[in-house]
């Protein structure tokens, strides 16, 4: 028993193929590391403003652990060196391994991340003049176990996070500028 009209089915497939072709074409609009850096600075300005609170702690009082390697790979620049992204904002270098002992399901020490906020950016769509990116921010909320912890060891906590989609446009000077937020997932 056929549930879909064959003509409709093939039309849908052709549209899917054309969309795929268009999407692959868009992915060829790769940015040089200098532009990724400027774009990342603009994204951090929006999602990681120093006064923004994460689990009650201003980001100014946490270090930003920025994952250049993951960000470069997401932008299709995985062959670039990790130091290719040069941010105006002071950050510490990090990779996903800082989250290896962290969990959203159970409180853990999450020693690799510590007090820092882990950040990486990925493109959702990208052309030479328009970008939609997702900024991912993760941290540990240790408030629940702080009083039970000894003075030396960090308190255990749940890994928390949010991911915000941002639209940016490139102006006539080649600078990426934030336009609007397009939804935030919180874990």
């Amino acid at each position: 028993m056929r549930l879909i009209n064959p003509r409709l089915h093939w039309s849908a497939c052709l549209v899917a193929a054309m969309t795929l072709a268009s999407s692959l074409g868009a992915q060829r609009s790769r940015l040089p590391a200098t532009e990724i850096s400027q774009l990342a600075d603009e994204v951090l300005r929006v999602v990681a403003a120093p006064q923004r609170l994460l689990a009650g702690v201003p980001i100014a009082n946490r270090e930003l652990a920025f994952d250049s390697k993951r960000t470069l790979a997401a932008f299709g620049a995985s062959t670039a060196t990790d130091t290719a992204i040069r941010l105006a904002r002071p950050v510490t270098a990090a990779t996903q391994t800082v989250l290896s002992d962290c969990s959203q399901m159970r409180p853990t020490v999450c020693a690799g991340l510590g007090q820092r906020a882990y950040v990486w950016i990925e493109p959702i769509s990208l052309t030479s003049s328009d970008a939609v990116v997702r900024a991912n921010v993760a941290w540990v909320d240790r408030r629940q176990n702080r009083s039970a912890s000894g003075s030396a060891a960090p308190a255990k906590g749940f890994l928390e996070g949010f991911s915000t989609k941002l639209r940016l446009v490139r102006d006539s000077n080649g600078k990426w500028t934030f336009v609007k937020e397009e939804g935030t997932v919180t874990s």
């Binding site: 052709l14 689990a55 991911s163």
Partner: protein, 174 residues
Amino acid sequence: MRRVLPLVLAVGATLASCRAADNISAPNDHRIGDPLRDVTGMNCNMDESKCDIIRAGIDYLLNHANGFCRSMGQAALDRFEAPAATGDGYEEASQVAGYNMGVVMEPGWGSSGYAPTSGQVDVYPSFWTSGFTDAQSTGALLAHEEQHQNGNDGIGDNTGYGPAAQQTCLNTSA
């Protein structure tokens, strides 16, 4: 040529998979977009075995010694059993970052300054491989997500209600 070849191969593969799919049809095939469990009145758009895991987490909360956790269980049950038209429920979603579950939020009416954009809780693939799909862990996480759904905890977990609810309900005693 090197730039065009992957494009040609990808488009060809898509069309080939469409051709293959064209040859497969059965009356009971699940079509993308069709709710899987609506026939039973439950708004859980996932495989039955996965819905059973969510439901076990809800049952854990409903039977918790702590009244707050029981109330979170009731809220989660209402979401699980909501009519599909409401948009409330549990939905399998494409992976975002490394999250196990999440709620889409926007600035709004909640006491946290944020509100959910819908009554939907997204369940990500990493949840199923987290090693914590037992009723206790699942139920505790559902209680956390309810704090986002009722607007008590926005992005940044600044009120602390989400993690506090999760911690409270993770404990099996009151």
